[in-house]
Amino acid sequence: MNGLMVLMRRELALSWGRGGGPMLAVAFYAAMATLLPLATGPAPSQLAVVAPGSAWLALALASLLSLERLFERDYEDGALDLLALGPAPLELVAAAKCLAQWITTAAPLAIAAPIAAVALGASTSLMPLIALTALIGGIGFCFCGGIGAALSLGSRRGGLLIAVVVLPLFAPPVIFGAGAIEAYAGGLDWRTPLLFLTAYSLATAGLGPFAMAAACRNALS
């Protein structure tokens, strides 16, 4: 357990130290939110319709950003070999890495997402729900993305490959997350999609580490 805490601290330190890791995702997110009105036209009525949905789309894309480095860096410098030999099971190591990824990218994005959505014309009453869904969905994005990152270890063109492998897995959280916000905005039942989103995120958090560990062992073999 102690080793995992050390690992968490190392992951957090690395992502902060490397050119302000979390800021990168937020900057990407801000850039997407800025480009959207330029692409669709600035009419507020038009933007308000797509604001919650595109906030979620940008979230999914921004969480793809740092996935490439999740296992690749440790794989290249041999740290992953040591982690695989260490006392902690590789499943827990993978889970800890994803959790650190969630803290450093999903948490800042959960703060940025409601601001961007409101700037695009969504109602301010949606802000808490957008932040909440971004936090919960972030778990799903990080653990699903971790599977893709682990699978593409040792391949050429890792980053692009992760996107191709992982984007289909992102469909359910995007549907449920954006669905909860739309339902809330429309005065419909928003708890059901939120619960589905939570269920998906927890299921990936529970099952994903096994796939990640298997993929890492495969890459190290």
């Binding site: 699978l151 593409s152 040792g154 050429r156 191709v164 289909p168 495969n218 890459a219």
Partner: protein, 238 residues
């Protein structure tokens, strides 16, 4: 049941006559099915566009069936380290992608006269599209890793992740939106398909199965040969 196929030599002996046989059965059945189809009167609502159904629906059924085959082969390859199972998984992926694409394209061609649009973001179309993306991701991963054994295992893990995930994707997309009609043939309360269309439709499904079986065997054979050629090339280089 299929354990005798685990041995590559026996598999090659079996597939040598099985592949052409399946292909011939598929060709004959497809000819009969299409003949019966065109002999049948046009549908009272859909007119002549009903003919698309005999191409479109079996393709979309098979696209899921092929994924199931791919997943079973991946499981056998990952857990029991069956080299042939891995070759089978590798051979199935492009066939599945092709069938999915065929289903999407014919569906689009059918949708234009019937629904008045090439494409709608409806539940079944979207999940079929996601299935295509799965296949493409699988093939991309296979192509991107140089070491073949390693690529095989990574792809098997991805295929099994997809087995867990695809039902969720289908469910979530269903929940998201629905316009496509439900299954007609297996609808509760009996088939909604006019009786005259049922025989050619079923024949076409069997023809598709035969064609897939034949092509799959041919592709597995090609994969086995490719590996043998690799081994020979390595031996010659020494």
């Amino acid at each position: 049941m299929f354990t005798f196929l685990y041995n590559p030599d026996r598999f090659m002996a079996f597939s040598r006559w099985a592949a052409p046989l399946f292909g011939a059965i598929a060709a004959v059945l497809a000819a009969i099915g299409l003949w019966l189809d065109f002999a049948a009167p046009p549908d009272y609502q859909q007119g002549y566009t009903i003919h698309v159904m005999f191409i479109h629906v079996p393709a979309s059924m098979l696209s899921l069936f092929v994924y199931a085959c791919l997943a079973v082969a991946s499981f056998l390859g990952l857990v029991f380290r069956q080299p042939l199972a891995d070759a089978a998984a590798r051979a199935a992926a492009p066939l599945g992608a092709g069938l999915t694409l065929l289903a999407l394209v014919t569906g689009s061609l059918w949708g234009k006269p019937m629904w008045g649009t090439w494409w709608v973001w409806d539940a079944r179309l979207t999940s079929e599209l996601v299935l295509l993306l799965f296949y493409l991701g699988y093939m991309a991963l296979r192509a991107a890793i140089d070491d073949e054994a390693r690529a095989a295992r990574a792809c098997a893990i991805l295929a099994l992740v997809g087995v867990v995930n695809l039902p969720i994707v289908v469910f979530s997309v269903d929940w998201w939106n629905t316009l496509h009609q439900g299954s007609t043939l297996f609808a509760p309360g009996g088939s909604g398909l006019a009786p005259v269309y049922v025989p050619p439709f079923l024949i076409m499904i069997v023809a598709y199965l035969g064609a897939f079986g034949s092509l799959w065997l041919v592709r597995i054979r090609a994969e086995v040969w490719r590996r043998r050629a690799n081994v020979l090339a390595i031996r010659a280089a020494r």
